[in-house]
Amino acid sequence: MSDARTRMVARAAREIAPGMVVNLGIGLPSRVVDHLPPRFPVCLHTENGLSGVGPTLPPDSADRNLIDAGGAYVSTVPGSAFFDSAVSFALVRSGRLDLTMLGAFEVSQAGDLANWIIPGRFSPGAGGGIELAQKARRVAVLTMHTDRDGTPKLVADCSMPLTARGCVSRVFTDLAVIDVTPAGFALREVAQGVTPEQVIAATAAPLAVPDGDIVVF
């Protein structure tokens, strides 16, 4: 992983407060756990039916019956619990999931999230993503600031089908930490070596920049 990605993931890890129940999405979000302090009090949830997700395991020590929702072989920690898919989403929909971190194709300045369909190219079904986005108490997005072509992922309005409307509170990218506020995107922090101007240039929507010094992560 590049330094920029590592910094972004490490910064996102600081979003997790002690005592939270957290669901980390597939891909970059799943790496956030590697940056938590040892003995940090947190409960990781995976929607296929486990609270207290432990470290991933290599194939040779894996349990064939113990995966996370991304198919990775994981482990338990003292106090883990297994449950069925109905209980797992009951936990999500009833407000017991304090935080989820998800990937994104697009995030709009209103906090709309598109991360499950690319029209004409990719529509494999949403899995549990819609409920995570719609019902977690707080939704953070973890994504590169632009896609491989340099196209911004933070936009005025999503062009792709929505996962959920107005769900995203905060976006962590390789360039910045950006909040979704009632007035739109607001820059909170920049990555080391990145200027607010660079973030503005890579964002396809108005971006409020704070007066004075800005925090660097």
Binding site: V42, C43, S51, P78, F82, L97
Partner: protein
Amino acid sequence: MRLPDKTTAIEEAIARIPDGATVMLGGFGVPGTPFTLIRELVRQGQKNLTVIKNDANEKGMGVDHLLASGQVARLVTTHIGLNPRAVALKNAGSLDVEFCAQGILAERVRAGGAGLKAVVADIGLDTDLARGKPRIELGGAVGVVETALRADAALLHAGRADTFGNLRYAATARNFNPLMAMAGDLVIAEAEIVLPPGGLAPEDIHTPGPFVDHVVRLAHLSEEYGVVRR
């Protein structure tokens, strides 16, 4: 990573329940009724409560103490035939009682716990129980919309817990407890035995810890928990 410790003093846990709260109580008869938490609720004296419980227990037990102290304004239940005080208060008009079919009460509580708005059933169509409830047509048949129930607080009794709030219920003491565990904004479980994390095997847990806010260790079991000799 480790899982947080939720063990709490009973006074502190129950003090989080305000006047006017809706309170779910686990239990079907004696088994699974959180008698000690109920006693503390009586001691603290929160008023104007709505209680949701399968039954009203018997004289001198559980819910009966809350009725005797005048803390209950409304009771959502399935059967109160074993509690003469509940029957008398209802008949006198000083206790508002809503009856549900037992399995429908279970589903309404579970629906609240599952973040659903309602379930659609067809129970009690020929009875007063379905009167006044919204109806919809589905597949050519009539369905009764049974709205979800949630509570400000759910009080549970578990045989075993760990400090993170994973719970196991003994025998038929399970009943409504796992459902109410999902449906309370504040969930307090009293437990006969509290183990360190890992003390309960992950495949053997009836209520997963994330649903539970406070675990109260029972120092001893009062007579109310014992075998009823009739």
